[in-house]
Symmetry: C2
Subunit: 243 residues, 2 copies
């Protein structure tokens, strides 16, 4: 499987993804699921993917290729006039790739399916965050739902729902994401380290923090060990059932 | 969906189940998913179910009917010589019901599927806890895996993994189960209050605690509100990402 979260805070957009792909328990490997297109001072676009690896790689390759090709009639990721046009472009590419791979054409339950989180900012507009479905359509985050998860979303969701606050600092947001990822890593073997972490600060128009977090990362170790103890203490502080 | 947990502690077996069944978002109702057969001083058997309601009701009805019928050649739930024979009897009944309902015979992915947690104690043997698959086969809990979950298992699993301890008191175990159920209730609308709680004390050979916990239960309210605050405090006590 996969676990990716894109989260909107007042200060910008934060992205985290794992790197494990698997075709069965006995065939696992490491692939980066976070892709960045940057034109410093003008725009940064981040795309995270879950699902069929051939599909997600094809989507990224097509976007990349068209972006570089001179004279290509396709719209280019670094030239779209708005984030809305950007997500439409990516959505159409997703639809095209899945339709091409599926013998019966594009279908919601195809084996070749994949879903995506797209976020970024283009000069002149605020940062925006989207989730793209295999059908190529998409939804945008709002104040009510300021984050998207794809892949193995369940284990790590309760803590995000409870601790998220849009006024959080980047340092608190990374802590929250690591707790959410740690719960998922402990419960589903198809989600694996290392993790990729990326921060787009509002109106910076360049990648801020971009870090890979592995097994030996001292902060990850602190959170992983600390959260288990913190949970146990929190739990023991609640009153026992009076019977 | 459904959420049921059966958990083994040194002091006995603890069971908790929700009561929501649904056929789509717009068709929900309340059904008890916990069934008890008791012969005080000699044995208590508890069965919890998840899956197709027609199947689970049929299994319980068949077990009940055969138990009461005079001269029936079928083995009876209150006469099996051991918990192992009991779980075989229930497993065979599950298999029979699903095979009867499915046009193509019993299959692992049938629409009529259901899974079960069975626990209890028969005089002369220790308490035992089993999980029964739709195929009618089953597994037993061990020291390594002292609990079983069926239905919507993911949201409530991390806290059980982290806080379970076989030496826990009943009061602590109920607290643990309520925290696990509360996380699930907050995340999946197809799991709903009220909850059924039952305790079989080791060597008591009768139902100990047997309680229904609803929205207004003061202890449930304490745990539900308290756990949110406790989590937030635990989270804020962890060190922030150093950047």
């Amino acid at each position: 499987m996969t676990y990716c979260v894109g989260l909107k805070i007042d200060r910008g957009l934060v992205f985290m993804s794992d790197t494990r792909t698997n075709a069965g328990m006995d065939s696992i490997s490491t692939f980066k699921k976070m892709h960045v297109w940057e034109q410093p001072g003008e725009r940064v676009i981040v795309l995270m993917s879950a699902g069929n690896l051939a599909t997600t790689q094809a989507v990224v390759s097509l976007l990349d290729e068209r972006n570089k090709a001179v004279g290509d009639r396709h719209e280019k990721l670094l030239e779209t006039p708005s984030m809305y046009q950007t997500v439409r472009l990516v959505g159409d590419t997703v639809k095209e790739v899945i339709a091409h791979a599926s013998p019966d054409g594009e279908k919601a339950d195809s084996y070749f399916n994949a879903s995506f989180i797209l976020g970024g900012q283009i000069k002149g507009s605020p940062p925006r965050l989207f989730m793209i479905y295999p059908e190529g359509n998409f939804i945008e985050s709002t104040d009510d739902t300021p984050f998207f998860q794809i892949g193995e979303t369940k284990y790590g969701k309760p803590i995000i729902i409870r601790a998220y606050d849009r006024a959080m600092s980047l340092a608190e947001t990374v802590k929250l994401l690591l707790v959410s990822f740690d719960s998922t890593l402990k419960s589903n073997l198809s989600v694996g380290l290392p993790l990729d972490l990326l921060f787009l600060e509002q109106d910076a128009f360049k990648v801020g923090l971009n870090r890979r977090i592995g097994q030996d990362d001292p902060y990850y170790r602190t959170i992983s060990d600390g959260w288990s103890s913190a949970l146990k203490i929190a739990f023991s502080n609640l009153p026992d059932f009076p019977g």
